[in-house]
Symmetry: C2
Subunit: 229 residues, 2 copies
């Protein structure tokens, strides 16, 4: 559709990263980039609204893809599982270009301005999760609270796994690491939005006996009980 010929855009990204890597982000001016790319200064800002945007050239597309993915969800599906699927979409963007992702990771790690920019990007993903969950959990007790907390937890799990993969320079199994992290979140928050009318409650019997034990002990015990399956 709109991906006809962004040749100039790619050239700008390449020139920018070449300079960022060899002399640092803050030591590189936009004029440096455009002279290396052989284009006019004004053209840079046609393709990237700010100098920071050239570091994250694919996030805008990924964000729209992800919101579209969530909007196209089957209304009967498990909402938490659906959000986890969306996270896997984001992960794929990183794993498609391991070297590029690792280079960018090293840059953002040491430039505070880029870290702030990355935060705002992650926040937009998280908001997309939360908006979707709010729609699915509407009407439930504490629906928006649950949506916000679960969205934050999913994003945090993804970031934790992603960062450990990036620290390994793109070696290691990113998919498996993220899967494990998501598993932890899914264990913590059951599937709070699924309709309960479909399955009769007789399918599940829970007996909990606590004699003065604090709540965290009960939860710990339930965890280990469930892990036996």
């Amino acid at each position: 559709m709109s991906s006809t010929k962004p040749a100039m855009r790619d050239a700008l990204v390449a020139a920018a990263f070449q300079l960022f890597l060899e002399r640092g982000y803050e030591q590189t001016t936009v004029d440096d980039i455009v002279t290396l790319a052989g284009v006019g200064r004004r053209s840079f800002f046609r393709y990237f609204p700010s100098k920071e945007d050239v570091v994250f050239p694919d996030h805008e597309r990924c964000l729209t893809d992800m919101t579209a993915f969530l909007a196209a969800s089957d209304p009967g599906c498990d909402p938490l599982e659906r959000v986890c699927e969306a996270v896997r979409l984001v992960l794929r963007m990183y794993t498609e270009n391991p070297t590029f992702s690792v280079q960018r990771y090293r840059l953002t790690k040491q430039v505070p301005g880029l870290r702030a920019y990355e935060l705002s990007v992650v926040w937009r993903y998280e908001r997309a999760f939360a908006e979707y969950l709010r729609g699915r959990l509407k009407g439930l007790h504490d629906g928006t609270l649950r949506a916000d907390v679960i969205a934050a937890a999913v994003a945090a799990a993804h970031n934790n796994a992603l960062r450990s993969w990036l620290r390994s320079d793109g070696h290691g199994d990113a998919e498996q690491t993220v899967e494990h992290a998501l598993g932890y979140v899914q264990a913590a928050f059951g599937a709070p939005g699924a309709p309960s009318a479909d399955e009769p409650p007789e399918d599940v019997v829970v007996i909990v006996s606590r004699r003065g034990a604090p709540l965290w002990r009960v939860v710990q015990e339930i965890e280990s009980t469930l892990e036996r399956d």
Copy 2:
């Protein structure tokens, strides 16, 4: 100690907010602020490293207070509860000046640059939580993952409650709202770092029977079982 006479600093904050409120953040230049405050331009940047910092004049102090609070924790306490205590500290900073907090909320809501700045501030709080939890959960299975996810969940719960209080223009009970939100998080994540050797496991008996039911149904049932107490 260091809070001797920041008279000029306060004057700058007052002048800045007066202009921000009457003509907007982006329509106000730093020169406008310093001429209204009757000081030199250079003095502004002596007190605030950037124009955005004048909008959040107390966060830096609050952040150091909070990290000190966490560092001074009793090593035997429940780590999740301790982080919740730290969150209450942050909340207090907002509730101490309701009108100021509400004005700032309205500003940050409509200025993208300020939203990004606020994100980086919230992120630093979240990192403080996560660092503390990482220390407490060290050695446990998935310690850092749990720490990151729980920190994100606590921050999200706090933000959810805080925002709903701010939207009510400072009416409504902020403490109670946050308490409720934190209760949800504490229910979701037991107390994963507490030593289990102190209490004999006989205090808790858990029996879960599931006949083909999906995991989220089991968790739902456990939730309602525990809520009966």
